[in-house]
Symmetry: C2
Subunit: 328 residues, 2 copies
Amino acid sequence: MSDINMIRAAAERLKGHARRTPLLNSPFIDTFAGRRVFVKPECLQHTGSFKYRGGRSAVSALDPETRGRGVIAFSSGNHAQGVALAAHEFGVPAVIIMPADAPQMKIDNTRALGAEVVLYDRVGGESREALGDRLTAERGLTLIRPYDEPLVIAGQGTTGLEIAEDANALGIKQGEVLVCCGGGGLTSGIALALEADAPGLRVRPVEPQGFDDVTRSLKSGHIETNNQQSGNICDAILTPAPGQITFPILQRLCGSGLTVSEDECLHAMAIAWARFKVVAEPGGAAALAAALFRKDQIESETVIVTISGGNVDSEMFQAALAKYGDDV
Amino acid sequence: MSDINMIRAAAERLKGHARRTPLLNSPFIDTFAGRRVFVKPECLQHTGSFKYRGGRSAVSALDPETRGRGVIAFSSGNHAQGVALAAHEFGVPAVIIMPADAPQMKIDNTRALGAEVVLYDRVGGESREALGDRLTAERGLTLIRPYDEPLVIAGQGTTGLEIAEDANALGIKQGEVLVCCGGGGLTSGIALALEADAPGLRVRPVEPQGFDDVTRSLKSGHIETNNQQSGNICDAILTPAPGQITFPILQRLCGSGLTVSEDECLHAMAIAWARFKVVAEPGGAAALAAALFRKDQIESETVIVTISGGNVDSEMFQAALAKYGDDV
């Protein structure tokens, strides 16, 4: 279903569209973390997160007639922007159903990219699925799932092809790759790519404390769910449970999960700002936080961490710098 | 003296050391600026600014015996870090003479990179030259000038080789390249590289208001000096006058200068944060500020702007976001 060939095909479709992000490092971070650390700054990707890869992969693979009717997505913001930009590039309509409490910047950007944004109340009882079903049926839209969709996993997996290519060029044969993990689309995609192109690198999912569904699922061997769906600043990686498609891949290929606190994510945001000069959102800084603050749960001499997105409101970013900007 | 062959030779010496930075763009910025804008984020370079290129270029070109005695530099911070890291990589001593009012982060980082930092009082009358002469004579150090040094200009010029390569790949034949300009090392280096590899691109220096020595010098045809040497947040690009070596190059190859206010630099920092997810310091955001706020002084459909550095104290960055973080 999802395999390396789909990822390579997605890479072909993304060529000239997705940005080729570098691997960054810093002697200060190596000292802080006690090992070699490289970051993959997908905050520099179009729309400010890796999600453009999956969005463009899925939209570009639709047959033109289907695509012409438009696409629909559920998203707290990064998948929304990724799908919106991809649809905009093909000149087709995009409807995005977003929680009303998503960061304002993500809502504004999604609208500015030409999408029709429909807000729903995440905490109240309104069913976003019923809303989506109705819109899909009425307009003949195609649903682009945020992670449990092979074409999306394939797009996110192109991140892993680039990590493998750069790691091989740097002579990195062994190591752990820490990935900010929500439903597991990026994590499973990278794991599949590394299995093929850099088999000495092992993926480990990183989640916010209290939203560690993947970590618990990997431990128990079956899909576990989170009790809550909101109430954490890492909005980009809050998902109810690993996906039906992503979980078997994670189970086969990943090491154990790691969890980090909200405060550690804020601290990692400040450190990414100071040392890599890039902007990370809280959920996008989770893997870096694990590299910095979970040293004893990591074995390898070299870790590679994703900074999966940088779409954060100004107030939140200022708060991170006010608290940790001088402690970097 | 300084020419394209020196730049190509520097590029060879920097291979595998300097980071190859990308060109970034954003539909939001294109709309804001009213034309196509690409940014060259040298804040992502090692040490957080393009200055590593010139530092490494100069230190790597010294004969081993001379290099072994160590190097010395005067710098408010970015050249300091560039030279310090280059010296550290070669395992040779570096002495950096810095103004006591330089941003604390730059002082701290230079020390952390292994350099011996000597502070002097920029406003008072203490002569940094006398201090430097004494240290140089006592220890047999080699002075690495921040811009009026052909090997440094050659290193900075490698930025221009990359701009030319990417512009050619994007099919950009004509355009203006706005460069944050202090003494003119980066500006003249880029201008020389573009003359050879992308002759349709014309460099234009960008300076802070009140520190527009290069702009006035280009207008009058001879070297003009600034009345003051401090008192502006764009510390990275405050210099007394264009260099003896850089000015003739600027005069031959550059278009007229542009000037921007401190406030416009703060606004551009917030926009770079929001739209490119990169960290710019005030002086490093000057060229982007010109692209955003001097539209009527720019002619081309396409502009390429340098973000020359990202070494800024947390308080200053928070102030930029507090003022402009929601106006991006």
